[in-house]
Amino acid sequence: MYEEPYRWIEAVGNRRQYLDEQFAKGSPVVALAYADGILMLTVSRGTPKLYEIYDRIALGGMGHPADLEKLRFSLLEMAHVEGFNRSPSDVTGARLMKYGLAPTIKQAFEEIYKAPFIAKILLAELGVKPDRDLFLSINYDGNFEESRGWAALGATASVQGRMRRYVESQPAVAQAQLAQAVELALCTWAVGSLAQAVSESTAAESSSTQVSEEKTEGNGSSLPDKAALLAHVRQTVGEKSLECVLLERRAPGSAKYRALRPEELGRLLPPAVSAPATT
């Protein structure tokens, strides 16, 4: 029945709707360049969502753990074989994205008889110099984009748009110390997380008005202030765990990736989040 072009387009449309629903409960991922490198942050429950891919490349993901794991393995394999046969400096985020991830994800998305990958992936690449830092993100349909300075994954384009608006409204952290970058990342994460909660509840009430709702979501409603955002983080972190990894430009040796230990992260958190919980 899918042989007809119209049916196929319809099937792909259904697939989008199905996939969008899958991400609604996921946790956004934020990556930012700061003075000494790149930081990536998310809040996870159970399985980790941030990983090391290669010496200068970190991965953050949203979606089904099994799908993420499969894609992560294919990236690791490609990066290491390439790094061994050529050289570590030939392993770049752009090539991993263009030749490793995008074709696989797009194919799985369009083969409507098979299951798509329930995954959105963000790759952060630490450049030799700060102006070469690069962020690449890919959607479940194989569309990917590059950005500089920062990047984020959220459940929908409108959630990501809101996170973008927030980051752009704040002072830049490219020259800032880690603690300041962590604070901005946390707030941006909270913007995304709150937006997802709102669109999920409204979607539950009436799924027919989704389009108009997304529009207002993207442009209209004002962004919450920092105190509200940090309160949301604090509330969430109580039941889930905060994950934060760094790519440090000045780290000794070739591998620049490092996951922050909980006590280290605790010292970096803004007081509004780290103060002992009273509830």
Partner: protein, 257 residues
Amino acid sequence: MGMQGDFFQLLKEQGYQFGSPVAAAAGMEVPTATTILALKYRDGVLIAGDRRATAGNMVMYDRTDKVLEIDRHSVMAIAGVPATAYEMVRVLEHSFKYYRRTQLQELSFEGKLRAVSKLLKENVPAALAGTGAVVPVFAGYDHEQESAKIYFYDILGAEFEAVEYAVSGSGSPTIRGILHYVNTWGPQPLATLPEEQATIQALRLLSSAAEFDSATGGVNRELNLYPVVKLIKASGVQTIPDADLKRLHESEVLRGR
């Protein structure tokens, strides 16, 4: 499907060959000579090597680095055919990283040792053909046992733990005797030496090796060439800067000048 997280297996699946034997041409000399040493001192392990590469009577290169960091906590010092040795280090480096990144945990110290002997075993045909023999000393920090350890190997891949020190290369017979003497009857056992004293011993030992073995390079002050000396402690591998080696060499190794 092989073992999970096995990078060497992955390479082989892709057609990679390690240590394929090539019959040595008659009279061909392969560069093998060197002196490397590792000793336990107060805070961990010191591992050092000279920097000369030779082919027969020819000095090929005086800036070779034979003490190679495989990761933040392990170092391999190599004596033998450099081409094979460097390839081994590259395979190990990627294997440990691949394991850590896929399995989300560090390969155990024993796992690392096994990886070294596995590679040496793969290399046996090339070693016997005379074109690829490597005799490494592997040292690293074992987090489970909280101590730095030294292992040495024969060309067939057998692994031996060194209790106090290990040496390899053409200059090693000279310094093996000295190490035994100093450790047994010297003012204090090597294992209790502080960092600077251990470094002085290493410099003196390598200078002795260079004195009696033409294939071991000594210190070349004119060109500012010093041996490579690394320390392995709980915090990781640390290389002693040339400036420090120069100072120690001038004050503690040279006599009456």
